[in-house]
């Protein structure tokens, strides 16, 4: 029952569809990929569609707006930064395709701020094999800090364990003896937060641990279990939507425990969007979180970022994701400036490893040759009357434990445009 004509038609079709471009042998040219005399091309993978798009799609738009601002002011070392954003819909298979296209077709200089643990994990080895700098991954997994294995991969977020430990430490100091519970996402995010909490209070001291799956938008069963367990301090390793849902569901049950939320799920403007502007100030009053970026309203970075957001991002809603995206952009521009007049992939990685980058955080960056984590310290933030700001100690989390340190914010220089 075979039909030769069908087969050959298919083969011809396949060839026609795929045969569009040049030849395949490995080239031996000496130029640096993605770097020309007047531009540097970099790329990223982000969830622009699909269930994860809400919220996160604002990050790359903010980064692009910051680069547009830099380019409008002469670029870095005379080069414009061209930022290619590929959609992966938070699907690891799509990430692999997108990143290969960026590396082989668009010949990017580096991948910057690829978003998500499962997504970015799927291209970690590939980027390593190809020798593409993999800078400032947008996730708090510990996997990005393995300099001996992945020598050009660097993290950006404070890792989840650090955040969990800092939240628990503050909770223990504020309410000694309170019943501590954890609600976490059922992946490395929730597990990391739980691990951090355990290092501080001990694993037997957590009264109730509940998890949720992103696909199921219902926390009634979990919160009911936590309520009946008598939880007083709830540490959340949840993304923004589920933080809002947890707070909202508990309020419907007339239950008002204290909320300690990881930075990935505690952005006040985003939470207010979910809960409604009218209810948010009351429901989120006193919510504790941690952060490390210059998010304080009225600060000089805040003023600059708002200005850039209005001018280069069509005045999109200004949230924690905006600050995050622009801060990543700033850090990359700083690294590029430090990589010299004729940057190479090696000099870019060396610039990050040098430890000379300052970033724009409220705590120092910890990059060095044998440490590829960005932030090992976080500052406590509290929501008061609808305003989220730094209001507590700054904790440094090391193998030895959690210690309070002094904040050391980086002052804004040269209008936020790095130069040599």
């Amino acid at each position: 029952m075979r039909n030769p004509r069908t087969l050959s038609t298919a083969a011809a079709l396949a060839a026609a569809a795929l045969a569009a471009a040049a030849c395949s042998t490995p080239g031996g040219d000496e130029t640096v990929p993605g770097v020309t005399d007047d531009a540097v091309v970099i790329g990223t993978h982000q969830p622009l569609t699909g269930p994860a798009a809400a919220g996160y799609s604002a990050i790359s738009a903010a980064t692009a707006a910051y680069f547009a601002y830099v380019n409008a002011n002469g670029g870095v070392n005379g080069r414009d930064i061209e930022y290619l954003v590929k959609d992966d819909a938070y699907d690891p298979a799509a990430t692999q395709t997108a990143v290969r296209e960026l590396v082989t077709e668009d010949e990017v200089f580096a991948i910057v701020n690829g978003l998500g643990t499962p997504t970015h994990s799927s291209v970690l080895d590939y980027l390593d094999q190809q020798g593409v700098p993999d800078l400032f991954v947008s996730s708090g997994a510990l996997a990005w800090n393995q300099p001996e294995v992945y020598d050009s991969t660097f993290a950006f977020n404070a890792d989840y364990v650090t955040e969990g430990a800092a939240l628990a430490q503050y909770a223990v100091e504020q309410d000694p003896g309170a019943v501590v519970c954890v609600l976490g996402q059922d992946d490395d995010y929730g597990e990391g937060i739980l691990e951090g909490v355990e290092t501080v209070v001990g694993s037997n001291e957590i009264a109730e641990v509940q998890t949720y799956a992103v696909s199921s938008e219902d926390l009634t069963a979990q919160l009911g279990a936590m309520m009946t367990a008598g939880c007083e301090v709830n540490v959340l390793g949840t993304i923004n939507g589920f933080t809002a849902m947890a707070v909202g569901t508990a309020a419907q049950m007339e239950w008002f425990p204290r909320w300690y939320v990881s930075s990935s799920g505690a952005d006040y403007p985003t939470l207010a969007g979910y809960l409604g502007e009218d209810l948010a100030p009351a429901l989120l009053q006193g919510m504790v979180s941690v952060n490390y970026l210059p998010s304080s309203a009225g600060g000089e970075w805040d003023a600059l970022f708002r200005e850039i957001n209005d001018e280069y991002n069509d005045g999109a809603p200004y949230t924690g994701n905006t600050v995050f995206g622009m801060s990543v952009g700033y850090l990359f521009a700083e690294a590029l400036a430090a990589a010299g007049d004729d940057p190479t992939r090696e000099s870019l990685v060396a610039a990050v490893e040098s430890g000379d980058l300052a970033g724009n955080g409220i705590v120092p960056l910890s990059f060095s040759e044998d440490d590829h984590a960005a932030y090992r310290a976080v500052g406590v933030t509290v929501v008061d009357e609808g305003v989220q700001d730094y209001a507590g100690p700054v904790y440094e989390v090391t193998a030895g434990g959690v210690n309070a340190i002094e904040a050391s914010p980086v002052p804004l220089e040269n209008e936020g445009i790095p130069g040599e």
């Binding site: 395949s24 490995p26 622009l48 699907d91 692999q96 395709t97 290969r100 799927s122 069509d314």
Partner: protein, 334 residues
């Protein structure tokens, strides 16, 4: 004996074709080859036995996990690790196929579709419950270009070669099976189960066997994808991907293996092409179109194709022959 010869010829042709492609197209070709193996299995299953599986992505995933596990565990020269991986992939997917097939033998159309759909949804939960690495999945070993070839070809082209070879090895037996007595029995069961039973065919066994025969190429397709991407994650084998396999099988014409190749290339290349198109639109509109436009066009094409030719596009080419099988089947109660 004509089928294996033709398969060999086409395989050599495809291998040669990789020299005309740049690394990214070669990567797409490897992905298309993986889809081709799975779609070929699916199209034979649906086209010849009328069993609609929405869960072929899970069979691919089973193959991928099997491959990653065995190829990592075997500590020897790379061809040995590769073979062990492929064997494990075939075994894992075959076993899962056997289980599903046993269920399928008892279930009629929509019930089987429901069961396989629930299977796809449960995959990511299963990856968390079983030692499969949760959402992050597991690493599959990297097969670098062998020394002798490393000056000649890039790694993507090498993976495309592996992909084409494995896909050919997976699909050729299926093609032989389909044109042999087993294929006849499948059609007999599809046309009229009672009549088939009267002539001594056990419909349950035929259906189960067809499921296994369809699962193994799918699993090898999963292995191919693991070779090309060095990673197996549950997120990569979700509902959208599983449905796109169905789309490929239908677009190519159910039951047609050549059509499966065309369909596999289509579902690999079209999303990328539509995104390129969306990138041309102005920023705000482009942001909304990005990703969505591909899905929209896909869906519209699928609806239009099915309305125009319910049997699938490639069927047009041999419609007269197809009609002979299609007509009686439409009268069976389902």
């Amino acid at each position: 004996m004509k089928t294996p010869l033709r398969a060999l010829l086409l395989t050599v042709l495809a291998l040669g074709g990789t020299f005309g492609l740049d690394p990214f197209r070669n990567y797409q070709l490897a992905a298309a080859a993986a889809c081709f193996a799975a779609v070929a299995g699916l199209t034979v299953l649906v086209g010849l036995t009328g069993q609609l599986s929405l869960g072929h992505a899970v069979l691919m995933a089973a193959g991928g996990y099997g491959f990653a596990w065995a190829a990592t565990a075997v500590d020897g020269p790379w061809p040995l690790a590769l073979l062990a991986g492929l064997l494990a992939a075939a075994l894992a997917s075959g076993l899962l196929g056997l289980l599903l097939g046993a269920a399928a033998a008892r279930l009629r159309g929509p019930y089987l579709a429901g069961l396989t759909l629930a299977l796809v949804i449960a995959l990511s939960a299963a990856a968390g419950a079983l030692p499969l690495g949760g959402d992050q999945g597991v690493r599959a070993p990297f097969f670098p270009v062998p020394e002798a070839l490393s000056a000649l070809i890039a790694v993507e082209q090498w993976h495309a070669w592996l992909a084409i070879t494995v896909a050919a090895a997976a699909v050729t037996p299926l093609a032989v099976l389909r044109s042999g007595p087993a294929g006849l029995r499948m059609r007999a069961v599809l046309d009229d189960e009672t009549a088939a039973r009267l002539s001594g065919i056990d419909p349950g066994r035929v259906k189960t066997g067809a499921f296994v025969a369809s699962a193994i190429p799918a699993g090898l397709g999963g292995a191919v994808l693991a070779i090309a991407t060095q990673q197996v994650t549950p997120g990569g084998y979700g509902l959208a991907f599983s449905l796109s396999l169905v789309v490929a099988a239908v677009a190519g014409g159910l039951g047609s293996i050549g059509g499966a190749a065309a369909g596999a290339v289509l579902v690999t290349v079209l999303p990328w092409a539509a995104d390129e198109l969306a990138a041309l639109a102005p920023a705000e509109l482009g942001r909304r179109l990005d990703g969505n436009l591909a899905v929209l066009l896909f869906g519209a094409a699928l609806v239009a194709l099915t309305l125009a030719w319910p049997g699938g596009a490639a069927r047009l080419l041999h419609r007269a022959r197809a009609l002979r099988f299609a007509t009686p089947s439409t009268t069976t109660e389902r």
